[in-house]
């Protein structure tokens, strides 16, 4: 599972981790029914506390994306809906725009121009 975190993201860490897992499921690397790597593996790789990852996983479970099963770990229940995927993509776009010194209003302007 590929996880990417933006170091300049002002959101709480568990929300960022939830976003990263949502993206990984959305891009098709994990299909419904597939088992996720254990929380402590993800936490170890990201260098963060396992409880933060667990909190992110619980959020995704409450969204209906993941399923917790005793003894079988965490598995994917369904793909995230279009809205959630677009929100993540927009967030990435805004972060990229910010690196070039563009604010949200200017991004909206660009979107209007090209659509």
């Amino acid at each position: 599972m590929l996880l990417t975190l933006d170091l300049n993201d002002p959101r709480p860490l568990h929300e960022q981790v939830a976003g990263a897992i949502r993206r990984a499921i959305a891009d098709g690397s994990y299909a419904p029914g597939d088992r996720l790597p254990p929380a402590r593996d993800l936490a170890g790789a990201l260098g963060i506390n396992a409880n933060t990852v667990l909190r992110a996983l619980r959020e995704l479970r409450d969204e209906g994306l993941l399923e917790f099963r005793r003894g079988r770990g965490v598995s994917v229940l369904s793909r995230p809906d279009a809205h959630a995927v677009l929100v993540e993509a927009a967030r990435e776009l805004l972060a990229e725009a910010d690196r070039y010194g563009y604010g949200p209003e200017e991004v909206i302007h660009i979107i209007r121009e090209i659509s």
Binding site: M1, T4, D41
Partner: protein, 342 residues
């Protein structure tokens, strides 16, 4: 034992056709011998005949003439049918190591079936009853040694061409874009439930043996022998039935066992390239850590399917079972490019 020379150089489909033909003819010959020789000697054999010896040369088990004949033919038939099935299935003859095993079992297995039937008939020949059929222990040892030698020779003659390392154009390798201010990691964990079951059984055996020895039920020597077998299998099993693979800015980390320790790290700078590949246990010769001497290619095989493969800068290849390996390889290539660029 005389054996027809197995085929030498096999470009896949031709060699498979020849292997199947040799196996078919050889199998019929062995089956005919196993059936014809006892039937020809029937008048000189007791019925029932001695078929089991425990340690000493005096028999302690018997079977009717027909029973013995059926068992001898059935034992060989199972080996033969399995080998034919594997050859027709195809993949087994493609790699050099499985090919050596296949030819080894075809002739070594036949040698063992023929030899065991031979020493059994020899012991029973002209005996008044099955109890007088004496079997010197060295006869059995000789059969095992000769059939192992025949198997080794057949495996050597049938080894064929060395495996060609697949040529991969650099454009083929996956790579992803790394953005500044971003931390990207990739993790995979793969377990093999069968290996875990085997491991658990071994460790359970070790615990039971220790308990029995402590209670004085089991002899100390027997307990040591049992522990010497079950403990290494259990420990190796724990280490290789679960593997945790991680790619981060530092490179590749492969953690063994359920706790991911011990772990082996390969820095990004020591890796030339990474890619994903489908591999199966028949190609690499089984499960666990698999290699061919001199090939420099190591596979940590937990299950057939997706594997993350790296080529080291100093030469040599390492592959490990991993889910979603394509993305892991893409990220690793990105870190390799970053390391070599700076």
């Amino acid at each position: 034992m005389t054996s027809p020379t197995p085929v030498q150089s096999p470009p896949s489909s031709v060699s498979r056709g020849r292997a199947v033909a040799v196996a078919a003819v050889w199998g019929v010959l062995v089956t005919a011998t196993l059936a014809a020789v006892p039937l020809a000697l029937r008048d000189r054999l007791p019925d029932p005949m001695a078929t089991h010896w425990s340690g000493g040369s005096v028999p302690d088990g018997n079977m009717s003439f027909t029973g013995n004949l059926v068992v001898a033919v059935a034992l060989w038939a199972v080996i033969w049918a399995t080998l034919l099935g594997l050859a027709l299935h195809g993949a087994v003859l493609r790699g050099r190591l499985p090919r050596v095993h296949w030819w080894g079992f075809l002739f070594g297995g036949a040698g063992f079936a023929l030899g065991m039937e031979g020493v059994t008939l020899n012991a029973n020949l002209d005996a008044a009853t099955w109890r007088e059929a004496l079997l010197p222990g060295w006869h059995v040892a000789a059969v095992i040694a000769v059939s192992a030698a025949a198997g080794a020779l057949a495996g050597y003659l049938g080894r064929g061409e060395p495996d060609r390392a697949p040529v991969r154009p650099p454009a083929d390798k996956p790579i992803m874009r790394l953005r500044p201010g971003q931390r990207a990691v990739w993790v995979s964990r793969v377990s093999n439930p069968w290996l875990i079951a085997l491991t658990s059984a071994s460790l359970l055996t070790a615990v039971i043996v220790t308990a029995l020895a402590a209670l004085g039920v089991l002899e100390a020597t027997a307990a040591w022998i049992a522990l010497a077998v079950s403990v290494p299998i259990g420990l190796l099993g724990i280490a290789t039935s679960t593997v945790q693979t991680r790619v981060d800015a530092e490179g590749l980390r492969v953690g063994f066992g359920p706790w991911g320790r011990p772990a082996r790290r390969t820095p990004a700078g020591a890796i030339e390239s990474a890619w994903a590949e489908l591999r199966s246990p028949t190609e690499v010769g089984g499960w666990g850590v698999r290699t061919m001497p001199g090939s420099g290619r190591i596979t940590l095989m937990l299950r057939g399917g997706d594997h993350l493969v790296i080529r080291r800068a100093g030469g040599g290849e390492f592959a490990v079972s991993a889910d979603d390996a394509e993305r892991g390889a893409a990220l690793l290539n990105a870190y390799i490019a970053e390391t070599s660029g700076s």
